[in-house]
């Protein structure tokens, strides 16, 4: 009985980590599209997102089955709840990567601003790194690492503020830049949301280890 449960949880761990890597790839590719306007890659990101969505559905279905059939409790149950909840977070990160891609395509080649784009690329690389690190923390079941990753979300917020300042300043100076500037703001907001979802995953890793549902991240009013 126990062996079956352990095998099933192990498989779910692998599937979850794989989904995490695919989502991380989506962010990486979205950054690439943003930098180079590679429309072929943009199409690929959108197509891959269907696979990410399917992964989430698969993980939800399998987790529900394991809960119903094996009736896990205590630490096993916490692991499964984490997979169930954190897979939704990963799926949302995938959606934000797609939205960044769409915005990048809309920006086109007119009125681009290198300085703001550099900030956005750095921001994108930052949240990508956050995601990679949180997947590693998940695989290692490392609560301390997860908490550290959540702390770095303040960096995403700083990037977003910088993008806002730069874009608004440029929009005020040059009204023909408003359309592109708005897209930059949209991209920044999507990337910032990715940081928030990575923080959610960190919170679930803490839950797996302690049973406590906590609020991490720089904006939390009741950090634990």
């Amino acid at each position: 009985m126990r062996k079956i449960l352990e095998e099933q949880i192990e498989n779910l761990h692998k599937d979850f980590a794989q989904m995490g890597r695919e989502v991380a790839k989506a962010i990486e590719n979205a950054t690439e599209v943003f930098k180079n306007h590679d429309e072929e890659l943009a199409t690929k990101i959108v197509e891959n997102d269907d696979r990410i969505n399917e992964s989430e559905i698969y993980l939800e279905r399998k987790t529900a089955q394991v809960i119903a059939l094996q009736q896990p409790v205590a630490s096993d149950l916490r692991v499964l709840i984490t997979i169930l909840k954190a897979s939704s977070d990963l799926e949302r990160i995938g959606d934000h990567a797609v939205n960044v891609t769409h915005a990048a395509v809309r920006i086109g080649s007119q009125n681009r601003n290198e300085e703001i784009e550099n900030t956005l690329v750095a921001m994108s690389q930052h949240v990508h790194k956050m995601l990679e690190e949180i997947i590693k923390a998940y695989v290692d079941n490392d609560e301390t690492a997860a908490r550290k990753v959540a702390q770095t979300d303040s960096e995403s917020d700083r990037y977003l503020r910088k993008v806002r300042e730069q874009a608004i300043e440029e929009m005020q100076r040059n009204s023909s830049f408003v359309a592109v500037g708005s897209e930059y703001l949209i991209v920044g907001t999507h990337l910032e949301r990715i940081g928030d979802y990575v923080t959610n995953v960190a919170e679930w890793i803490v839950y797996t280890n302690t049973g406590r549902i906590v609020e991490l991240g720089p904006n939390s009013s009741y950090k634990k």
């Binding site: 009985m1 126990r2 449960l5 009736q71 896990p72 409790v73 205590a74 630490s75 096993d76 149950l77 916490r78 302690t210 049973g211």
Partner: protein, 269 residues
């Protein structure tokens, strides 16, 4: 993995604040010996009134030994040291009238054991022995007890049929009715549903949840889901030691003791 790997000093035992929780019964430093075999060590548990408490643990962990000590079923079987405090009295002393005490602390066993008598007489037998002769009063108690044990509707037209004509699940509910006819304070149940099918089990569980409005219930069970479904508190026994006692919702989500986590997860032995 060896079942002996756990540290008996790694314990977490819930203590109630008497200002917030009414204690129905409490054991202090309870020790049980079968001859030279020390079967239960340091039983220190408090049971809250009008709650269901599950005692869980592997076979030989001491949970049934502990339960049976509570209403002195271990007399002449084992040596029981320590205090069992009930309404300010230590019932584990020779001064106590055990039969009188068992009217307050009743027991239902694993296998249904109705008397070889009619359904009605199963309820009235002990009451008549105590001198209750008023037929109307007896009928009232029969109906109320059977209703409380959620079996009245099934047997009300067959009260004079043999109790043995009932199914196992019905027999067990009759035994619960027989116990509560004595108006006990505390109901002890030793794996009351382990010999029953899932439907009968579910009826027993529903009955117990209903009964806790008026009784304090302590139940030994091997069925983890049963413990998690119906009990408010759970105590985990291991090799004669009580290692963890807490709210059931904590035991089954965030147990504090490694051995508890392993046992309830099936990662044991």
């Amino acid at each position: 993995m060896s079942i002996n790997k756990y540290d008996f000093n790694e314990k977490s035992i819930l203590k109630f604040d008497p200002n917030e929780h009414e204690i129905a019964i409490e054991t202090k430093n309870l020790q049980v010996y079968y001859g030279n075999n020390h079967a239960l060590f340091d039983g220190n548990l408090q049971f809250e009134r009008y709650k269901i408490t599950s005692l869980i643990g592997a076979s030989g962990s001491g949970k049934s030994t502990y339960l049976r000590s509570l209403n002195r079923m271990n007399d002449n079987v084992a040596k029981v040291d320590g205090q069992i405090m009930y309404r300010g009295l230590d019932v584990n002393t020779s001064k106590i009238n055990v039969y009188e005490m068992r009217k307050h602390i009743g027991m239902v066993f694993q296998r249904p054991n109705p008397f070889s008598k009619s359904i009605r007489e199963n309820i009235t037998f002990a009451l008549k022995e105590q001198g209750l002769k008023n037929k109307q009063k007896l009928n009232e108690i029969v109906e109320q007890s059977l209703r409380d044990a959620a079996i009245w509707d099934e047997v009300k037209d067959d009260l004079d049929k043999s109790a043995w004509s009932l199914s196992g699940g019905q027999q067990q509910r009759l035994c619960i009715a027989r116990t509560i006819a004595m108006k006990p304070d505390i109901l002890l149940l030793d794996e009351p549903a382990s010999a029953l099918d899932p439907i009968s089990t579910s009826k027993i569980e529903e009955t117990l949840v209903e009964l806790k409005k008026r009784y304090t219930i302590i139940i030994v069970t091997h069925n983890m889901q049963q413990a998690s479904r119906i009990s408010d508190y759970t105590a985990f026994f291991h090799l004669g030691h009580i290692l963890e006692y807490d709210k059931t919702k904590h035991i089954f989500t965030v147990p504090k003791v490694t051995a508890t986590n392993d046992y309830i997860s099936g990662n044991f032995g």
